[in-house]
């Protein structure tokens, strides 16, 4: 395996980490309106992700940084090409980050309410937009010979990309509900599980349509028929198992399964792309691939050594932080956010 291929896999792994982790805190943010009924419940919800959301977001920054370092051309084409959606994602992440910190700094219901709406909106939009981004990438974007992309409205927004955005949003929402079933207690826990069951059905429908659309509107099943079918099969199995687990109050397993579902979905997207990183809808010859978009061998070697040295520590203390805050969150204890 060439180093550039390895880095494609590593970047996929970082995005799997991002959707597995930030996926549930996006879902918790969505639940602040779809599940919580009052401000007290919203406070509990926000506090379940309190110690984690910031570190979860770093996975996205690491993904961006890794693309920059390992595939400068991919980074340049994608970030300048997807200017507007990324701008909106940035505004959301800004609003989201400060809202957690600000929401109860002033003792006023209205104050808290304003920041809670920001949390809701900024937890709903980014997964949708990132879903749109990744699926439209899969369908192909107007990338010219000079690697620059000048896309029009219908390149970004079309049936396939909207459906992709919707599906990713639902997957994150479900993952968040499972997290809440695992991390809250009493009424909230019961309602989170009940809502999760309904969302499971919506996801089933959404995934069927999405696979159908992918079959007709992208070439991923032509490029990688057998691997993609196997991944789809495992996605279905994961959500089936998740449904069973949440129905039988095995919340840890339910959470694991919805995380696995997200991880497999990201894998399906990256497997469909490979060896391309950006597909040109104008001409196959203009595709950006892991070979023509990557950094030189020396740079990749340095980055590989650095990544494999640091990543075990990151994973170690991340797991430790989840272990420290493993207890369920209720309003019987003090809530920081």
């Amino acid at each position: 395996m060439e180093l550039s291929e390895l880095w494609f896999v590593l970047i996929a792994v970082v995005f799997i980490g991002f959707f597995f982790l930030e996926g549930f805190d996006f879902g918790v943010g969505m639940s602040s309106r779809f599940l919580a009924r009052n401000q007290t419940e919203r406070t509990i919800l926000v506090n379940t992700i309190g110690p984690f959301w910031d570190a979860n977001e770093v996975w996205l920054l690491t993904g961006g940084g890794a693309i920059f370092a390992a595939f400068p051309n991919w980074y340049a084409t994608m970030f300048s090409g997807y200017y507007l959606p990324l701008f909106v994602v940035l505004i959301c992440l800004i609003g989201r980050g400060v809202s957690f910190e600000f929401r109860r700094k002033v003792d006023s219901t209205r104050w808290t309410n304003v920041w809670d709406w920001v949390i809701f909106g900024s937890s709903l939009l980014p997964p949708f937009l990132l879903g749109v981004l990744f699926t439209s990438m899969l369908r192909g974007m107007p990338i010219q010979e000079d690697m620059n992309m000048s896309a029009g409205f219908s390149d970004f927004i079309n049936l396939y990309s909207l459906w992709g955005g919707l599906t990713v949003t639902l997957l994150c929402f479900l993952h968040g509900l499972h997290f809440l079933a695992l991390k809250t207690d009493g009424d909230l826990r019961t309602r989170a599980a009940a809502l999760a069951k309904k969302i499971h059905l919506a996801i089933l429908g959404s995934l069927v349509v999405f696979v159908g659309l992918s079959w007709t509107m992208t070439d991923i099943f032509q490029v990688r028929l057998v691997p993609e079918l196997i991944i789809v099969l495992f996605i279905v199995l994961a959500y089936g198992a998740g449904f069973y687990a949440i129905s039988t109050k095995r919340e840890g397993w339910a959470f694991t399964m919805s995380g696995l579902g997200l991880a497999l979905t990201v894998s399906a997207i990256f497997a469909g792309l490979f060896p391309r990183v950006m597909i040109s809808s104008i001409n196959k010859a203009y595709d950006l691939t892991v070979y023509n978009a990557s950094s030189g061998g020396y740079s990749l070697k340095v980055m590989t050594i650095v990544a494999f040295t640091i990543l075990p520590f990151v994973l170690g203390y991340t797991i430790w932080s989840y272990y420290i805050f493993r207890r369920r969150v209720t309003n019987k204890e003090h809530l920081t956010y």
């Binding site: 570190a55 920054l61 940084g65 400068p72 808290t112 980055m303 990543l311």
Partner: protein
């Protein structure tokens, strides 16, 4: 409008705004870590109260610093895609390492620190804040590694039509980094120290919580003095390095058009006529520039006219005939002077303050305390002017000697889009800044006794429970 101007304006505005919070975070978290260390070692509850109160203000600031920083990482690709293509092989690595090594550490341990007061042992909790502090410092190392490459590019060769890394060790031992990092980090220590000192002075003026704020004030003045002397010393070595590596920036910062006499005088005030390449008025301090540049009272500096000719001979083949290599002189000149001016005030204030403290007269020195309150702004201004000098003075280059700013911008992003996003960022930043100042002033007025500010319908004080 010209996309280059707009993209530059966006970069300047978002970076200056971001760097308002960054040095305060770095400096404040270090002080909080020291306070908590005193608490754990001396078992004095006052130090715990200090760690919590200042930690509380740190967190409000940290949140804004983190979110405004995300823009920076995305912006290179969004507005400067040709730059990213050309130097990504070298420049991307420090950014990726920053995320992997520093951001994860900061954000994970700050989460544990905020939520872990009751769940961890004292020592483990203390270790968390030190790891956050280490994380902020490491973050500075890597982002300054990236910036240093733009000032003094090293560790690369031009291959496949772009800059490719060929020596990672050279990149992280860049001479520019070795002078830039100490300067930035001591500047950050000053920022935290003057923030704590100013707020403490405010309370001492009002005769509130005297024991608490006296202790905070003393500690802040010591940090402030160490920081400001460090800033001056590292600034001196940075100036010497600048003369060697980017003489044009130094000449612009001094308003030197023709080569100086030997020994060279330092320009205190000059009225610069950048159109006609001359100064209409000058007030000079003899010998001082030679000392600043070479640490001895002899030696001359080249003027911008000479350097323009030298640069033309050297770089015109890369960037085109007749390029103007002279940066905006007035901005460079005055930001350099303002930085130094505030830096001098930052040395004087803590010296006078500590002397007054020794005589036991600090509480009664009303005027001095008022100066300290105003002094909160000094490091912020010095930091900002320092970066303006560094970045504006490097123009027309984005990477010195390799790529001009005009060549770096995204060719496929319309000017209207950059204008729109800039306006939106500024709007959001204005709101954030207003809210943050409002919250900090509120918390400061409340003082250390009623920390919370959180809602009362669930619990009262996030730090009080079980404490």
């Amino acid at each position: 409008m010209d996309p280059v101007i707009l993209a530059r304006f966006q970069f300047a505005a978002t970076t200056i705004f971001h760097f308002f919070f960054v040095p305060l975070s770095i400096g404040l978290v270090l002080m909080v870590a020291v306070m908590e260390t005193f608490y754990v070692v001396k078992k004095d509850e006052l130090y715990k109260k200090m760690a919590k109160f200042w930690g509380h203000l740190f967190l409000i600031n940290f949140a804004v610093g983190v979110v405004t920083g995300i823009i920076q990482e995305f912006q290179f690709g969004m507005n400067w895609s040709d730059y990213s293509r050309f130097v990504g092989d070298v420049f991307g690595a420090p950014l990726a390492i920053e995320a992997l090594l520093a951001f994860f550490m900061e954000s994970t341990f700050i989460g544990i620190w905020i939520f872990g007061w009751e769940r961890l042992s004292k020592k483990l909790h203390l270790a968390c804040i030190w790891l956050v502090s280490l994380g902020t410092a490491l973050s500075a190392v890597w982002i300054l590694t990236a910036n240093s490459f733009m000032q003094v590019p090293v560790g690369f060769s031009i291959k496949n039509g772009r800059a490719e890394m060929n020596d990672f060790l050279a990149l992280i031992t860049n001479g520019q980094l070795l002078v830039e990092f100490p300067h930035v980090i001591t500047g950050a220590i000053c920022t935290g120290a003057f923030f704590v000192a100013g707020i403490s002075a405010y309370h001492l003026l009002r005769k509130k919580h005297l024991a608490f704020y006296r202790k905070s004030m003393k500690m802040a003045m010591i940090f402030g003095l160490i920081g400001s002397i460090g800033v001056a010393l590292s600034g001196h070595s940075q100036a010497q390095y600048l003369v060697k590596t980017q003489p044009m920036k130094m000449a612009a910062a001094e308003g030197i058009w023709e080569d100086t006499a030997d020994p060279a005088p330092w320009s205190g005030v000059a009225l610069i006529d950048s159109e006609n390449h001359k100064n209409t008025f000058e007030l000079n301090i003899p010998y001082a520039l030679s000392f600043l540049s070479y640490s001895k009272f002899e030696g001359s500096l080249k003027g911008m006219e000479t350097l323009q000719k030298e640069y033309q001979a050297k770089y015109d083949s890369i960037v085109g005939e007749g390029t103007n290599y002279i940066p905006p002189v007035k901005t460079t000149y005055w930001s350099f002077r303002l930085m130094i001016g505030f830096g001098v005030l930052m040395i004087l204030l803590p010296i006078i303050g500590l002397l007054q403290l020794r005589k036991g007269r600090l509480d009664k020195s009303t005027l001095l305390l008022k100066f300290f309150l105003a002094g909160i702004a000094f490091p912020f201004l010095a930091n900002t002017f320092g970066w303006m000098m560094t970045e504006v003075g490097r123009q027309p280059w984005t990477v010195f000697g390799l790529m001009t700013t005009a060549d770096a911008v995204s060719p496929n992003v319309p000017a209207g889009m950059i204008l729109f996003s800039t306006i939106m960022y500024l709007a959001v930043f204005t709101i954030l800044f207003g809210v943050m100042v409002y919250l900090i002033v509120r918390e400061v007025k409340k003082g250390p006794e009623q920390l919370s500010g959180h809602g009362t319908h669930l619990t009262t004080d996030p730090f009080k429970v079980g404490a």
